[in-house]
Amino acid sequence: MAKRPFVKEEDARKAAEAVFFAQICGALLLLPPIINLFNKRLSLFGVPLEVLYLFLVWIVLIASAVVISASVPRASADEQLGEEPAQPTNESGKEGG
């Protein structure tokens, strides 16, 4: 019990870092110049490559969101309310953001 706040804090920090990394990667994939690498007037199965690429990135982003949502620590009801918690020594989920 005494160790829990630490673990939670650590989790929250790692989650924040992973999420930030995923966001940056997603943004890079969607921005020039990377996006223009796939914009070469090519087609795959009759569909323009850039269209397939964008939807593929989109699916990857959704998949990473599923992973993130499943792995980040849950917020307790006490934390959410932010007032008069059941235990005064409740963990204060430290997170840089």
């Binding site: 966001q23 020039p32 323009p48 850039e50 964008l54 959704i62 993130i68 934390e79 008069e84 204060s92």
Partner: protein, 916 residues
């Protein structure tokens, strides 16, 4: 064929159905059985209010005109929601703990509950969202026109209306609907369960409708994705992107990312209506999935439409036109309902969100300012005032939207109108990010940054949207104001050749963020701002239960209840007071109300009327002794000073303690010296008394007894003489000792040869030795030993020790051995004898005064010493920087060693000592 009347009646029936749905879910929520209406999926669907008729109709149009650009509108929000853990979670947490009701409330609350900032944000929101509402009106009228033009004008009474009247009618119906739902009561947390349920239902309808049309077009008409693209190629349409993804793609991506947080309706649904932070967990992937599904068929529909429809047809309406031209009336009707859903959901949520902002941040402060004395307002119930102002502002918002629609007329496609709004609300983004992550951003920075951004937006984006209808504005855009060409709205500072949207986004966000940062750095925060900044930025770091107690003081419970009742209503106010054990009627607590309760009350009221208004309202009642941060700092300073002072005291006391210790030591030393002096005196008296007694008694005998013969007389007189000699010797030694101890004025060290001195001393003692038959041997001797000493005194030391060795030697074959040698630095003399030696118990204090190694019985013999000789020798040797020690010699008796520094070694030190 679809009859337009039938379509319109269907739409009205649909609205009626929504009304019932909202009513039922509201009623269930009130009974505490919100169940399904509070699931994360309903929450996700309600967030999909992001997809308006711009998405439903406009995205196909954008795809037909500009290719893949429409995707950027959905990829931006996808990125934001994938990272929900970072920004959205923080926003939700802050909004829950601070009872935030809108974007304006968030910014105002963060920046010291500033009313001015709230008003500014509200104003910008109203102006920015007006084109967006106009867009929905335009979409609905266009869709109705599309249906009626397809059927011709035959039949039906409603079709005869022109666009403007139709739009006005729609606006009126929507206003009534929204007022009925959104303003039925003032909720403590601005959560509208019924509306959310209706919005979620509409989100499901529009998704299903769009996908149905998509499947119908792609698979029913087109024969699969591949064939749709192939057909478009055959029709001579370029299916590839025209040119690279460039600045416009980036600008739209940035704007859509900003809009999904900053748009008042998105903030309302995503942040304010959120009932559980964990719902974001689902929305984080479900909302991007929703957007994905809404976009999959957009491009194929556009391409199929372009390939099959006449060239002059409006691509925005392909989604309706394609099923209708294929004769699938049911699907066309469903598509119409889908588009209608997307438009109405946006109008409802946006106008509710804006009306909350207007009533809380514009109407309330004015009302509060006008009525200085709240008790005097009597019947004016604040809750009623809020509801009334909200209803009026909803109607006002829709009317403004209608006016914008009317003024801009047929200014073309749907998407550009939406982007105007996006660029407008994006002006909140810098302040919002600063609010969440930059602790030192000030209210002045936020106000000036937002204002500068808004003015730039109005100049570069909003004004040009009237270009087609106003010749004056068209001229201004071409030539600039008063002919100043560098101020042209779409080529500011000569930046030409860029897309107008890119141009505007660049300048507005640059000016906005730049001003925010510069002004924030140049100004400082007030106490309240600093407190709020900490609450916001460190929301996850905060220890629960440590709410700041901003309001403090003496309000009576009656006054507080009066205010609470006005804002929250009697029932809720009563509950709040009772759960906190605060009496609300009659009895007032003599010591006032706890500040914790006032803080809680303020937060509850903030949920209804906004942080700034709640603060103003309570400040009026609570007799304003609020503790300012400055005051706190002052108190802290004083505490700090006290701590420092006590530190000093502690140090002083340590010093005192050590001084006392030193004094105690000095005292004990003094006592010791005193004791020694007493001892010395008693010893001296004793030594003096013994000869004096014998002198007295013998002289008395000589005086009294006249019968003494000459022999006796002679013996007595010689005893008296001996004793007086002894007495004189004693006194001489005492004087000598005292002279040595107190420093002889004529003491002078000179360079002498110690060997010569030693020889002389041995010669002096020769007579004594012969008398006692003691052999004095000089064994190995140093050739020479120049030392820095007083020759007479050194001689005295040698004589004293040698004489002692001779006179106390009672061995069979008495002898004294004298050895001397030099080391590198010292000259050493050892004088040993084979006498009885010095008993162990005397060894340590043999150099003390009046210490005699021999029994006291010997005292009477004239040759026995007085116990001062060694002490005097010891003192003398010390004065010559040497040492006199008792060592273990090779003979059985005592062995004294005298060590003196050779000349040149200790000279300098010696000279310094003597002259000093």
């Amino acid at each position: 064929m679809l009859s337009p009347d039938f379509v319109i009646l269907t739409a009205i029936a649909y609205v009626g159905f929504l009304f019932i749905l909202a009513y039922v879910s509201d009623a269930r929520a009130k009974r505490g059985k919100s169940g399904i209406f509070r699931s994360p999926f309903v929450y996700t669907l309600s967030i999909s209010v992001y997809c308006t008729s711009w998405t439903f109709y406009g995205a196909v149009g954008t795809a037909a005109r500009d290719g893949l650009e429409f995707l950027a509108i959905y990829l931006g929000p996808t990125l934001v929601f994938v990272g929900w853990w970072l920004i959205l979670r923080k926003l939700v947490r802050i909004s829950h703990s601070q009872r935030i009701t809108s974007v304006a409330d968030l910014l105002s609350s963060r920046f010291g509950k500033s009313s001015r900032l709230a008003v500014l944000v509200t104003l910008i929101a109203v102006v920015s969202v007006t084109p967006y509402i106009a867009l929905q009106l335009k979409a609905i009228t266009s869709s109705i026109q599309a249906v009626s033009s397809a059927t011709g004008s035959s039949g039906g009474t409603l079709v005869g209306l022109d666009d403007v009247r139709l739009a006005f009618g729609i606006a009126t119906v929507m206003a009534i609907f929204t007022i009925l739902f959104g303003t039925r009561n003032v909720d403590a947390r601005e959560q509208h369960h019924g509306v959310v349920a209706a919005i979620a239902f509409e989100a499901a309808v529009k998704l299903v409708a769009f996908i149905a049309v998509g499947i119908f077009v792609v698979y029913g008409l087109g024969g699969g994705f591949e064939k749709v693209y192939a057909r478009a190629l055959e029709a001579g349409i370029d299916i590839h992107e025209k040119g690279d993804f460039g600045t416009r793609w980036v600008a739209v991506l940035v704007l859509s990312s900003a809009a999904v947080i900053c748009l008042p309706r998105q903030f309302q649904i995503t942040i304010v209506e959120n009932s559980d932070e964990n719902h974001l967990r689902t929305a984080g992937w479900a909302f991007p999935t929703y957007l994905f599904l809404m976009s999959v068929f957009t491009l194929p529909i556009a391409l199929y439409g372009l390939a099959t429809r006449p060239a002059d047809s409006n691509p925005d309406m392909f989604i309706l036109a394609l099923p209708m031209s294929a004769g699938n009336d049911a699907l066309a009707l469903f598509a119409f309902i889908g588009g209608f859903s997307s438009a109405t959901s946006m109008i409802i949520v946006a106008s509710i969100a804006l009306s909350i902002m207007v009533s809380n941040h514009v109407v309330m402060p004015i009302a509060l300012r006008r009525s200085n004395n709240l008790e005097a307002t009597g019947d004016r119930d604040i809750a009623q005032l809020l509801l009334r102002s909200r209803r009026i502002s909803i109607a006002g918002m829709l009317f403004l939207g209608f006016v914008y629609f009317w003024l801009t007329g047929d200014s073309g496609a749907l998407a550009p109108i939406g982007l105007i709004s996006f660029a407008g609300v994006a002006q909140f983004l810098p302040s919002m990010l600063a609010a969440l992550y930059w602790r030192h951003a000030t209210v002045h920075g936020a106000i000036s940054g937002t204002l500068v951004g808004f003015i730039t937006w109005a100049w570069t984006t909003f004004l040009p949207s009237f270009q087609s209808t106003s010749p004056a504005i068209a001229t201004l855009m071409a030539e600039g104001p008063w002919g100043i060409s560098i101020l042209r709205p779409q080529a500011l500072f000569g930046m030409e050749g860029f897309d107008p949207l890119v141009h505007s986004v660049f300048w507005t966000l640059l000016f906005n963020a730049g001003t925010l940062v510069c002004v924030s750095l140049a100004t400082s925060q007030s106490a309240l701002e600093r407190i709020q900044a900490t609450l916001f930025v460190d929301i996850f770091r905060r220890h629960p239960g440590s709410q700041p107690q901003i309001l403090r003081g003496s309000a009576t419970t009656d006054e507080l209840f009066f205010v609470a009742e006005r804002v929250l209503g009697w029932q809720r106010a009563k509950e709040l007071f009772e759960t906190s054990d605060v009496p609300h009627r009659g009895a007032s607590l003599p010591f006032g109300v706890s500040s914790a309760f006032i803080t809680k009350l303020e937060r509850e009221m903030a949920g209804s009327i906004g942080a700034a208004s709640a603060h103003v309202l309570l400040s009026k009642v609570v007799a304003g002794d609020s503790v300012s941060l400055e005051e706190m700092m002052r108190i802290a300073d004083e505490t700090q000073q006290v701590i420092e002072y006590s530190h000093e005291l502690e140090q002083k006391s340590i010093e005192l303690r050590s001084t006392a210790q030193q004094l105690r030591e000095a005292n004990s030393l003094l006592q010791e010296l005193h004791r020694q002096k007493d001892d010395f005196l008693s010893q001296v008296s004793h030594e003096v008394r013994t000869p004096m007694t014998s002198i007295r008694s013998f002289s008395e005998i000589l005086l009294m007894d006249e019968d003494l013969n000459a022999d006796q007389r002679q013996r007595f007189v010689s005893i008296i003489h001996q004793e007086s000699v002894r007495l004189t010797k004693l006194l001489d030694e005492i004087l000598d000792l005292s002279a040595l101890e107190h420093g002889e004025s004529d003491w002078e060290n000179t360079s002498v040869d110690a060997e010569q001195v030693l020889d002389r001393a041995i010669a002096v003692c020769e007579a004594l030795a012969r008398q006692k038959s003691v052999t004095v041997e000089s064994r190995s001797r140093a050739r020479a030993g120049r030392v820095y000493a007083n020759a007479d005194r050194l001689s005295q030391v040698f004589i004293n020790i040698i004489a002692n060795a001779i006179s106390h030697n009672n061995a069979e074959d008495p002898k004294v051995q004298i050895t001397s040698w030099t080391t590198a630095e010292t000259y050493v003399v050892e004088i040993c004898d084979n006498g009885p030696g010095i008993p162990k118990e005397y060894r340590r204090k043999i150099f003390d005064k009046f210490v005699r190694a021999s029994p006291a019985a010997d005292v009477s013999t004239p040759t026995s010493g007085l116990g001062l000789g060694l002490n005097i020798s010891y003192t003398i040797v010390k004065k010559m920087n040497g040492a006199l020690e008792l060592v273990d010699g090779h003979l059985p008796g005592a062995c004294f060693r005298i060590v003196l520094p050779l000349e040149g070694v200790g000279v300098k030190a010696e000279r310094a000592r003597v002259s000093g």
